[in-house]
C-alpha cells in the first residue's frame, strides 16, 4: 500500500522546486520554513540543481528580487512564513501587478502578538487580495504536486500571475508521510522550460515596468485585468489538473470533497487540519451520521460556483476557519455564505473558529460542531462564530495567567 519515500512538507516543497527545474531562488529563513531553503541551498552548493541560490537581507528584498528575476524571464521559486510574508507584504501587490509567474511557498504560522510558531491561516489569508493565486495543500504529496501545477498555471498566457502555495507549519512542514516523487523526465514533459513571449527586462531591449498611471482610468484597466486573469484560473486549473491526473494519476480539484455525495452535514475546512475533519467524518459515518467534508483548495480565485454546487441542499454546513478577523469572525465564512446566497435551496451555515495558533481540534470539539449542525438543521439559531476551546485548555490558560501575575477570578 505504501510507496515512494517519507518526506516532510518542507522537503516536499524543496522537491517541488527541484523538479520544476527553477532558475533562481532568492531566500531568507524563518521558522517553520527554514528547512525548505536549507535543502535547496545544499542542493545548489552540491551542484544537484542548476539554480542560482542567493540569500537576501529580508523578505522584502527577497520578494523584490524574485519578482525582478521572473520579469527577466527566469523561473523563480521562493518561500517564507508568517511575519516574513507580512514583512514582504508591499511587494506581494507590486509583483502581482507586474504579472510575473513565480511561485512562492508560504508555511503557515500564526501571527504575533503574542508570538508563536504553530500554524493558523491569518498569514496567508492576509495576502488574499494581493493578486496572487492561492493553492492550499493538505498533504506532503499535494505540496509537491501543487508546486508543479502552480508553475503551469502561473506561466499560462491566460493567467500570467504569481502563485502562493500554502502548507501548514509543524502539522505538515515537519511531518513526514509517504510521498511519491514524479520522475524528472516526466515532469519536464508536463512542465516544459519557461519561454516567456512577453518578458520585459532584457539588456538589449530596454523597457519601463511599473510606471505611474495617474487619473484612475488606466489604473482601473490594469487592476481589473488582474481580476479577469484570476477568473481564468477557474477553467485553466481544470485543464492542468486533468493533464496532471493523466500523467501522474492524482487529480486535484478547485475544491476537494470527502464523502460528500449523500452528506446531510458538511464541514468546510482547509489545509492539514482538513485531515482531522476527515477522521471525524469517518467516525460519524460509522455511527450512521451522513457527514461529509469540503476542503477549500484553490482560494484565489474563489471557486464560488463549485462551492455553491457542493453545499446547496444540505441539512447544515459548518465552516471551520483556522483564522480570525477580529471584529468580523472567520475569514472564509462570509465568502462561502455569499457563494450560497443566490441558491434557493441553501442550508444554514455555521461559523466556527478552531485551531488558532495550531491548537488541536479534538474529537470532542468536532462532536460539538456536529451537535450544533443537528440543532441548526432542526431550525435552532446557533450563535456564530463559535470558538473551539475546551474547559481544560481554559484552566491551563488561567493557570499561566496567574503565573504571569494576573489576578484571575473564578
Amino acid at each position: 500500500m505504501s510507496q515512494g519515500k517519507l518526506l516532510t512538507g518542507n522537503a516536499a516543497a524543496a522537491w517541488g522546486a527541484r523538479l520544476a527545474d527553477v532558475d533562481y531562488i532568492p531566500a531568507f529563513p524563518i521558522t517553520p520554513q527554514t528547512e525548505i531553503i536549507e535543502l535547496l541551498a545544499q542542493w545548489a552548493a552540491e551542484g544537484e540543481i542548476p539554480a542560482r541560490f542567493v540569500t537576501m537581507d529580508s523578505e522584502h528584498s527577497m520578494l523584490t528580487a524574485a519578482g525582478a528575476a521572473a520579469a527577466a524571464g527566469a523561473r523563480v521559486f521562493t518561500a517564507t512564513s508568517s511575519q516574513g510574508l507580512l514583512y514582504g507584504f508591499e511587494m506581494l501587490y507590486t509583483i502581482a501587478g507586474w504579472r510575473v509567474p513565480l511561485v512562492l511557498v508560504n508555511v503557515s504560522r500564526a501571527l504575533a502578538s503574542p508570538i508563536t510558531l504553530e500554524a493558523d491561516h491569518n498569514d496567508i489569508l492576509a495576502a488574499r487580495d494581493s493578486g496572487f493565486v492561492q493553492i492550499h495543500s493538505e498533504t506532503c504529496q499535494e505540496v509537491v504536486d501543487s508546486i508543479l501545477m502552480a508553475y503551469r498555471l502561473a506561466e499560462d498566457q491566460r493567467v500570467m500571475l504569481p502563485v502562493l502555495v500554502n502548507l501548514d507549519g509543524f502539522t505538515l512542514s515537519f511531518t513526514r508521510e509517504p510521498v511519491t516523487l514524479p520522475a524528472a523526465t516526466e515532469v519536464a514533459e508536463f512542465l516544459p522550460p519557461y519561454r516567456p513571449n512577453h518578458a520585459f527586462i532584457r539588456g538589449d531591449k530596454p523597457m519601463a515596468q511599473g510606471a505611474a498611471v495617474l487619473g484612475g482610468a488606466v489604473y482601473s484597466y490594469f487592476r481589473y485585468q488582474q481580476h479577469l486573469a484570476q477568473e481564468n484560473v477557474l477553467t485553466v486549473h481544470e485543464d492542468i489538473a486533468e493533464e496532471f491526473a493523466s500523467r501522474f494519476g492524482r487529480r486535484y480539484g478547485l475544491i476537494d470533497t470527502f464523502q460528500l455525495d449523500d452528506a446531510d452535514y458538511v464541514l468546510v475546512m482547509s489545509n492539514a487540519f482538513a485531515s482531522k475533519g476527515k477522521a471525524a467524518v469517518q467516525r460519524w459515518r460509522a455511527q450512521g451520521v451522513k457527514a461529509g467534508l469540503l476542503r477549500l483548495r484553490v482560494l484565489r480565485p474563489f471557486p464560488a460556483a463549485a462551492i455553491a454546487a457542493a453545499l446547496k441542499g444540505r441539512k447544515a454546513v459548518a465552516v471551520i476557519d483556522q483564522n480570525l478577523a477580529p471584529g468580523s469572525g472567520g475569514i472564509t465564512y462570509p465568502e462561502i455564505v455569499t457563494a450560497l446566497y443566490q441558491e434557493k435551496n441553501r442550508p444554514p451555515v455555521l461559523s466556527v473558529i478552531g485551531g488558532l495558533g495550531g491548537k488541536d481540534i479534538s474529537a470532542a470539539e468536532f462532536d460539538a460542531v456536529l451537535h450544533d449542525l443537528e440543532r441548526a438543521a432542526a431550525g435552532e439559531r446557533i450563535v456564530s462564530p463559535r470558538l473551539l476551546y475546551t474547559r481544560s485548555e481554559q484552566e491551563r490558560t488561567r493557570a499561566l495567567l496567574k503565573i504571569a501575575g494576573k489576578e484571575v477570578t473564578a
Partner: protein
C-alpha cells in the same frame, strides 16, 4: 493504527528515534506519519515526537493525545510539568522509561496505572558508543521491537537515518551493533497491541470565552523576574565539575557560560549553580587547563 509518543529533551535524539521507528515501519510496508514538536526550541528543553503507524491512509495530524506507547528518554521528564509524558495514557497504554530506578520507584513517582517498562539504556549506550548521542538508536530500535516489527525492519530504519548523518563508517557500525543489543533487550517484553476499539477519552466539555479586562487579556507578564524559579538544572545529562588545583582563575568559563550559571567565590574561583546549569558543557570545552570535567548525572 498504533500511536507512539516520544518524550525527551532537545539534544537527546528523540526526534531521530521517532524517525527510526517511522522509517522501519515504512520499510515494512506500512503507512507512516511522524512529526516532532520542539516547544522552547532549546537544547535540554522538553520536546516530543509522534509516530503513527497504520495499514490505511492516516487522517490524524499533530500531537498524539492518547498514545499506545510512550517512550521517555530520561526519568526527570516524568515530573516535569512542561513535558507531562504520561498525559492521556490509559490502561491500554505502555510506557517505557529510560532509568536506573526500578519499576516500583517509578510507579510511586508517577502514580502510573499503565504498563510500565524500565531499563537503563543510558548505560547500554555509553558502554557501546562512549557518547549519549546514540540514545536515539537504542530507543528508536526498542520502540520498533515494541510495535512488533522485525530486527531487519529496525536496522533498515536505522540505516536510513544514519545515512542522513555525517557519521563515519566505524561509528555507523557501532550504532548497528547497539541496535542489535537494544532489540535483544526487549525479548521478554510482549509487543504493544492495536486498540480493539477506537473509543477515546470521554468528551471534553467546551468552554465559553468571554470578555476580560485588559489587565488580564493583554499578553503582558506582570510577575517579572520569575525565570529563575524555573529550575533548569534537571535538563543536565552531564554536570561540569571543577578541579580547583588545575584552575588558574582565568574566568573564561565565567564569561562564556551562556546561562550565567557560573559565579565567582571570594577567592575568585568559579562556582557552578547546579540549580540552573543546563549541562551544555561549554565550560568544559572552553577551559584552557581542563580544570572542568564532565561527570554523568546520577539522579
Amino acid at each position: 493504527m498504533l500511536r507512539i509518543r516520544f518524550h525527551g529533551r532537545g539534544g537527546q535524539g528523540m526526534k531521530t528515534a521517532s524517525r527510526i521507528l517511522g522509517s522501519a515501519a515504512f520499510h515494512a510496508g506500512l503507512v507512516v506519519q511522524d512529526s516532532p514538536v520542539y516547544g522552547a526550541e532549546r537544547r535540554g528543553a522538553p520536546m516530543a515526537a509522534f509516530t503513527r503507524i497504520a495499514r490505511e491512509p492516516i487522517h490524524e495530524r499533530g500531537a498524539i493525545t492518547q498514545p499506545d506507547l510512550v517512550v521517555v528518554a530520561d526519568d526527570s521528564l516524568l515530573s516535569d510539568p512542561a513535558a507531562q509524558p504520561l498525559a492521556g495514557c490509559d490502561r491500554a497504554s505502555t510506557v517505557l522509561v529510560n532509568s536506573t530506578k526500578d519499576e516500583t520507584t517509578l510507579r510511586s513517582i508517577t502514580s502510573a496505572t499503565t504498563r510500565l517498562l524500565v531499563a537503563d539504556f543510558t548505560t547500554l549506550v555509553l558502554q557501546s558508543t562512549q557518547t549519549l548521542a546514540s540514545l536515539s538508536t537504542a530507543l528508536g530500535v526498542i520502540a520498533t521491537r515494541l510495535v512488533g516489527l522485525t530486527l531487519a525492519d529496525a536496522l533498515a530504519g536505522l540505516d536510513e537515518e544514519l545515512a542522513a548523518t555525517h557519521l563515519a563508517e566505524p561509528q555507523k557500525a557501532v550504532n548497528l551493533q547497539l541496535a542489535q543489543a537494544a532489540y535483544a533487550l526487549a525479548d521478554s517484553w510482549t509487543p504493544v497491541q492495536e486498540r480493539a476499539d477506537e473509543t477515546f477519552t470521554p468528551a471534553q466539555p467546551l468552554a465559553e470565552v468571554t470578555f476580560d479586562p485588559p489587565r488580564l487579556a493583554v499578553p503582558s507578564i506582570y510577575a517579572v523576574g520569575n525565570s529563575p524559579e524555573r529550575k533548569t538544572g534537571n535538563w543536565r545529562q552531564f554536570r561540569p565539575v571543577l578541579h580547583p588545583d588545575l584552575c588558574t582563575r582565568c574566568w573564561i568559563c565565567f564569561v562564556r557560560c551562556p546561562e550565567a550559571a557560573i559565579s565567582l567565590d571570594a577567592n575568585e574561583y568559579p562556582i557552578v549553580d547546579y540549580d540552573e546549569c543546563k549541562g551544555c558543557l561549554l565550560c568544559v570545552h572552553e577551559c584552557p587547563t581542563h580544570a572542568f570535567t564532565a561527570e554523568k548525572e546520577e539522579r
